[in-house]
Symmetry: C2
Subunit: 335 residues, 2 copies
């Protein structure tokens, strides 16, 4: 017969609630109590079934998180934030990889996993409004990131135009006059477009030309794409005095090329990235970056899903997460 | 009424098999055929239910992948490899985060998600043999990584002692005589112990002392841990001419400290990492690293799970994945 929570409680001489707290890994259990309960769990061979409670409510206890790219450290850090936020509500996270392709995003948003999940957090790249308009799926959907949809779903994003303007303002404030943008997209990509728009607007506000010859389009988002884009700009004969990259890996790839060509950072060319991933803090030249509040984005996403599961159906919300610009050596030098 | 695969096939004038191939994203469908089927899918509003086939067999179509750390880019790259390998068999991957803590690893291995998953791939850090000895769970389990268990489970790992010896041999071959090791563990950690053993054995084979004063213990695995460990060695008055780090992020953290202190890499100190993550290829000084065959590890893990689901119960296997040592600027300089 299956050993129950009640059996463990009786064996350990504690309440069922205490056993539950240990099993669910709540923080307010003392180490001594945790040991005592664990000994009973071991003695009886109890196997906690964390999903039972969810199943009683007709739920699975699982939230899906669908991301375009796991190799990008921003998404790895965001995933950790979502997992932590979900764990606080006894939810586990099923991770899905869309590759940023529209057909995969449609499949995910149409709920091909509806039997398995209670809610979906989706960070789309190519998904169109029309793809979501006829969504019949009952599973709550929360959207992350920069694509705009005129549809009744919660949507969490930072203000990308504003954040890009802050990055360019920082460079202009340091006296830079030729600011390149690395990572515009050949394919349709709202985040890249919004960041290019911010770049253009801020240069305009500073009375500087937004020169298309200083915008490098790329197909991918990685280090190698940033390196190739930087090479193309330099090979074209241009010598900007600053570079704003779509994300940190691209900025780091660009910096590698600058090192190879003997250009000094920031003296010859200042560099700003986006996402503030850990790796940017440990290069030979540390990277100035726009830092979205990833913990808040993860927490807000999980809470949005759970609010809709809770029976209340709040008005769909457009939630702006915070960002900061973190100044490091790639723009202000070693201090 | 729910639109079926059959309805789509009739509408598109193709076989059910062809529709299935499109829905399941198989490679051998021509773009023209894919378009034709997709138009019928769109016209009829068909929602593919990828789990139906699995459910008919009493399966869920989900493999869990339990990892100690998502922030570590090695695990992000390994996750991508597992997801790709699983997708080739129409399996999706549920990602689990153990934090490398024994109690979480026990919970996962005891199958607290048994209703949801068909198989489990676990990369344990602290899990003990005794934790697995009484595992009653029927869900196939495949172990990844360096911990050794004398138990009948498939286990996939590279030979860590051998790989560490290759790294140290490379340094000794370059004439280095004082090789530090960064990332030994205060807590019990088999991978770190195996790599320290390899470091010790290879120095011994070269007739060099394996000096405990050059072994830096750390609690964590990240950039900051590597930086702190490097600082401690230098602050102790030691000046090794080479560093072998437990992994790439720690090596990169150590290199940051060497830069700050004006030490040249590799002229003053050569550095070797482990895992060959993308970031190591784009620093101001690119990083020499032990490169496990991550694609093969992901593929072998998925195939091991599926073989056990297939009814056959093959003998548990110890599978050695390949590795190579990739030489870059941090040891051989810019060429």
């Amino acid at each position: 017969m299956r050993v129950s929570l009640k059996d463990v409680a009786a064996h350990a001489g504690v309440s069922i609630k205490t056993v539950s707290n240990v099993v669910n890994n709540y923080q307010h259990v003392t180490p001594a109590m945790r040991d005592r309960v664990q000994r009973s769990i071991d003695a009886l061979g109890y196997q906690p079934n964390l999903t039972a409670r969810h199943l009683r409510k007709g739920r699975t206890g699982i939230i899906a998180l669908a991301l375009p790219e796991l190799g990008n450290p921003y998404f790895a850090e965001l995933t950790a934030a979502v997992i932590n936020a979900a764990a606080a509500h006894d939810y586990i996270v099923l991770l899905d990889h869309t590759g940023g392709r529209r057909e995969q995003e449609v499949l995910v948003s149409q709920g091909f996993r509806a039997r398995v999940i209670d809610g979906l957090i989706l960070s789309p790249i190519e998904l169109e409004t029309e793809d979501l308009r006829h969504r019949s799926e009952q599973v709550p959907l929360v959207l992350l990131g920069e694509r705009e949809y005129d549809l009744p779903y919660d949507h969490i994003a930072i203000d990308n135009v504003d954040a890009a303007r802050a990055a360019v303002r920082h460079l202009v404030g340091l006296g830079r006059r030729e600011v390149a943008f690395i990572g515009a997209r050949r394919a349709r990509s709202e985040p890249a477009q919004l960041r290019v728009r911010g770049w253009r607007e801020e240069l305009g506000a500073a009375g500087l030309p937004a020169d298309d010859g200083l915008v490098a389009e790329t197909d991918g988002w990685g280090h190698a794409d940033g390196a190739a884009a930087m090479s193309r700009i330099l090979d074209s004969g241009r010598r900007p005095d600053a570079v704003f990259a779509y994300n940190d890996p691209m900025a780091i790839g660009a910096m590698r090329v600058l090192h190879e060509r003997g250009l000094r950072i920031p003296e010859d060319i200042a560099v700003v990235g986006f996402d503030d991933v850990v790796e940017g803090r440990f290069g030979a030249v540390t990277l100035t970056s726009v830092s979205p509040d990833k913990e808040a984005i993860g927490r807000l996403a999980v809470e949005s899903v759970l609010a809709r599961l809770g029976g209340a159906v709040p008005e769909p919300r457009r939630i702006r997460a915070d960002y900061t610009l973190v100044e490091r050596e790639s723009t202000v030098g070693r201090r």
